[in-house]
Symmetry: D4
Subunit: 219 residues, 8 copies
């Protein structure tokens, strides 16, 4: 086989194995997933389109397709949800795809997830109305394109750790997400950790690693 599947990760019960589908053929994906299924862990396939979903359906019935998130989940083990909470916020409706990639990933990794979508700074009252949700969260993931101001404003409103995800939503001098990326890296309000443009998965992964520390401390 050409791909060396990494058996290191997945320490917690229910923790999924992950496959990133973007640069792979449907056949390759099917092959890798089949091999993964031998270990009976949960499987998370990101950037999966309809066609990948149909192909994986041939392997098992224990799967669900989250279209908005472009994620297929094959669930073999039960997922126990954390006491700690992750809040996922978006600036606009166009950021949903990335936000759902983050939210579903986080949930499959065993985290309790809250959502607050379309609360961007163009109408700041919608954002201020989320204060309670922010107060209850242990980690906040902010997803925003265009000028990405959401991340700074949220950070100004809270001292929770924030994972900032720039999206490629926008056009022109947006340069496919560069504007939002630079904005988040230069935020005047500290406490942000930035991930790659459109990287909902990576945001959830980082948030999950923080929640892991918190949950461990609870015990």
């Amino acid at each position: 086989g050409y791909a060396k599947v990494d058996h290191h990760r997945g320490l917690r019960n229910g923790y999924p194995e992950v496959i990133y589908c973007e640069d792979k053929t449907t056949d390759e994906i099917k092959g890798i997933v089949e091999k993964m299924m031998e270990r009976n862990q949960n499987i998370l396939a990101t950037r999966a389109d309809e066609e990948v979903y149909e192909a994986l359906k041939e392997l098992t019935d224990d799967l669900e397709y989250y279209e908005r998130a472009r994620i297929v989940v094959i669930q073999k083990e039960e997922i126990e949800l954390s006491e700690s909470k992750i809040l996922v916020m978006t600036g606009g409706t166009s950021d949903l795809e990335v936000a759902e990639e983050a939210a579903i990933t986080a949930e499959v990794m065993g985290n309790t997830v809250e959502r607050a979508y379309d609360v961007g700074v163009a109408g700041i009252h919608r954002l201020l109305a989320q204060k309670d949700k922010m107060a209850e969260a242990n980690v906040i993931i902010t997803v925003a394109g265009m000028e990405g101001a959401l991340a700074s404003v949220v950070s100004g409103l809270t001292d929770k750790p924030i994972v900032a995800v720039p999206t490629s939503v926008g056009y022109g001098a947006n340069f496919d997400g560069l504007a939002a990326l630079l904005a988040m890296l230069n935020s005047c309000a500290s406490g942000l950790g930035v991930v790659n443009i459109d990287n909902g998965f990576g945001a959830a992964y980082l948030a999950d690693s923080i929640i892991n520390q918190i949950e461990a401390a609870r015990e």
Copy 2:
């Protein structure tokens, strides 16, 4: 003489002639100002340092140096202030230099200017507290560096025309003001006209041209 002074501008009473000092020697500046003084108009010298000020003091006593704004004003005619108002806002204290370039320029061009400095989005309550000043203004100039989120948030709070000035305040992935520039160009809240990085003068000039139209309509 090597410089062709442009006598076209300056239609309103008291309207100044302008000299941009950055790429000129003190001698050149002195020469140009001396020539300008023959027409007995007000004179605005931007990007002027201490040395330029000392040199121009030798030409006349009717001058004032605005150190923070790096501006020398030679006033020969009275300046009648507009009924309309320009509000100049900054995100932080480091944006003051550019903001004052805008504010003094606007005042010398005959505009009534309000200031609301250091009201950036890291502490949004400071910004929300400026709602009355915003309501009274006819044009708002927002001056911000780093991620430049101020412009978007202000624009979300008002429907007044906004002149957005990115500043080069920041470091690293700020790329000398590029982050703030891109943010302002990609604002999710419309109604912003963006000028060059650190261009307080140009912001005031545009704001003034808007005020001119409003004042004309009042009559």
Copy 3:
């Protein structure tokens, strides 16, 4: 519903609600418009293609499709036109799409709009011939791609506020509108407010906010 429709805007009579269609599915657009129609305001759908138009036609007959501008307008309230005028100018014929996005948007927002298209600096006599139109305008929107020199030259000919829209027309070292964008930001003639590349809507929005101030002063 995933989208929080913002009921804040639209203060003036006839003022439209706006939907940006680019990153949305036809179904999403239809859903949002349906919800908007409950409030009986005018609706402006930008970046709308033929398919969107066909879908919205199923909701109402009070709609018009401006193909060149890629705009659908659903008119429920009468639009009262402003006394003040906006002049929209383009450098070439390829800039028409963006210019019409600006022009139609401005009209739907209640502004009187003049057009002067294909008057770029390659044949400067065509531009100089527009002096009367410029004199009559209260705000000028210049739309230009390639090197974007139109904005500077127009600004040199007038003291009216100018909204400069760079377009992505061009190729090679144009970098999808970057050349025109930088040119407009660096104009040697002050008085320009720049918006994002191809952002005809944003230009109209800013021009409208200026006209609002002028109209208010007339009263």
Copy 4:
């Protein structure tokens, strides 16, 4: 006063007020610090040079200068250290300045800090030798310039949350830290939150906000 000091932050006992000295004159810094001292909190002055230190020494004796970190600390309240640990790692000795900015900031904010410096990937045995320190840490801050590979390799070795700080150490196609920044944003090993180039302070701030959540869970 031109600067609006923000009294919101600083919830925990001993939590410092912060001043960023880079774009301010020594006089301004002294003025701001004097005002801060009225509230008797600890004060952290970053990017402070010798001159700033000398000026602040005139205000109080309760101060220490961390030259390597370019930080002045004025300590008025006792700092209680966290049970949780932050590990700060650097790729080379040239990254020390940024690393110490992070380490001292974290300590003044009440965190227990471990250091593992000069353990870059050019000699990977030095890095592998840090496995115990990594296992004991709750958050890891990786500081690296040049190609910034340290962050990826560390992330591959642990599932702890990682705050990745690119530094401007390098030359040529490094473009002042851009190479390391892009590397960290594109890490093949997830779990990294990236901050601005050379932003040791921001890294500590984010790490601290994570530790806060962990400490709260301990109780």
Copy 5:
């Protein structure tokens, strides 16, 4: 004929003539190959898709299509393999296409090639397990996208000459391979020669020129 075929190269027995298919029509490719075939040398067609393969099959039966490598080889002369070895390593499975372009090219040029794929730094034990292969190689080609850390880590583990190939695998702030390219150019571990993004052919060509020198020395 429009193309001047260069008869200079190909000094060694079996050394192939090369055609790069990307910007050429299938007809042009067929024409050029036909002309090449007159000289009875081996022929290597890179960036060849299915269609090119089908077209060339009409010219001869002595051809093989390496789909993964996108290479067609027409073999007329026997290829004698070198005693020296080239090791081709990749970070992930998505880098295979470029790696195979390098491997097949090197083989057709008469080099003994070893492969070690999917041994990226996210799971460093997989990489450390390749030490023997590295020790046996005379030249190592490292192929990696995303943050390209593989090249640095390999270089830190060996003093063999390394040809580093950044790939365009990744997204967002990867900027089509720029992140990996910059990483490799700025490697903290010396001994890397970098080629263009996705340039598997060029990597093999450089490795081959080194092997040529080694083989010559053996005699």
Copy 6:
């Protein structure tokens, strides 16, 4: 000696040898010029500061320093001026340095040079007033910074070959001349050949090579 002086050029009578002083020590320059002087040709030293001038004065009295142009000329042979004319135009006074580098270089190479400085598009009447000078020129060199619109407008007014020189005059989003460079490369009016930012010498060299062809045709 480390520098191989190139004796190929300089075909016409009086044609100078050229030395570019920027990256050389005064001693190196003196050494090279001394060697050049053995051939008794004219010598043109560009980017020469006061110190270089003083050093070369020790070698000969037949030299002149053009301060504005930063050029030292050592004249040994008579310079016969061309019948054809080069017109050098600038947008502003800050472009003079580059313009004079072009003008003096062209003159020393035997060309008749006209100047029209500070005729930028901000006041287009000043530019239109140059129509006669343009009509008389055989080649036009346009020198402009900021948005570089001068080149396009001049090209729209004439069909003469134009050498366009972007200058680094400006700030912010000018990016040290990039804005003007891109503008000139993307001119909507064809007929421009662009040289490097601030490269007055190169512009003159190209103009001279054109004049050479014209002069040859006259005979």
Copy 7:
């Protein structure tokens, strides 16, 4: 009509009107050409594909399609060829499209054109073999992609004026022609005027304007 056709150009007998087809619909092109045909001048349609050709064939029989050049020529007046010569050179066969755009444009504008294609620096003997053609030319157009070294090397071999056209041929760190563009702007051999990436038309236009001056001098 939306397009203002410019009747200024076309001074010489046979000089064509030009239409750039890229951003226009076939209907628009047909409409503009029809209008142009009323003046009975020759017409040059660049960036024209098969479909445009078919559409224009409906208007007239006096047309020819140069597929390689993507040009349609409608010839109404005889074209008198110049005594002076333009030599068009390319680095590789992939540059042909751009080279032919230049060559056909130049011919239709009345210039005698020589071609020397596929003479790039990878096999420098092919280039050195063109010395006679270079000696006979009055202007040389060099067309090259990838690293664009052809322009520099040709310039080192001749003192003729050179129009340098970078092409977008290449991949990876070529950045769509940027590499070749920068190379030509920074040539160590002076005497180059650079045009936009892939701008064969503009190169011909500039070369023609130079030939015009030479031809005029001949009389």
Copy 8:
């Protein structure tokens, strides 16, 4: 101590330990060198200025300062020179500093080094005259700034492995070496391994690693 000295390298007799002085204080350098001297190996200090040299002179008499190369060598063991040869070539005299960094480094590492300086493509006969030196070399290091065409042309003339070093020599659109870097990465002639801008040391290191393989094969 803050710096972990790596004792892995230096397998061959005489192989030096290396210290990069750029970002270190003279005291730090002295400290590190003192520690290195305990092992009695040769020491190579790169990017060393006069001051560093003076400081190291206090530690030992067995040192030499290569000013042009900015290198200090402390020689404790004899250096046995390789039978294989490295040829270092430069485009211009301004590239000497980087070239000498490469040459001296290579020599101290035990390689026989030939030099061919100032043989750039502007006068290609100077380059062609180096054919014999190229034929005798086993590895060629080409050092060039500006448009970096030297690397391509040399590669077209030989099949030896080439290490290409772009330098930051140039100005304007050179962007501190970016132009040459891109040129070398996009060379139409394969067989180049590119190192970072101005990285003479890295070039020598790579060349040395190749020579090591060749020397080993000789035995």
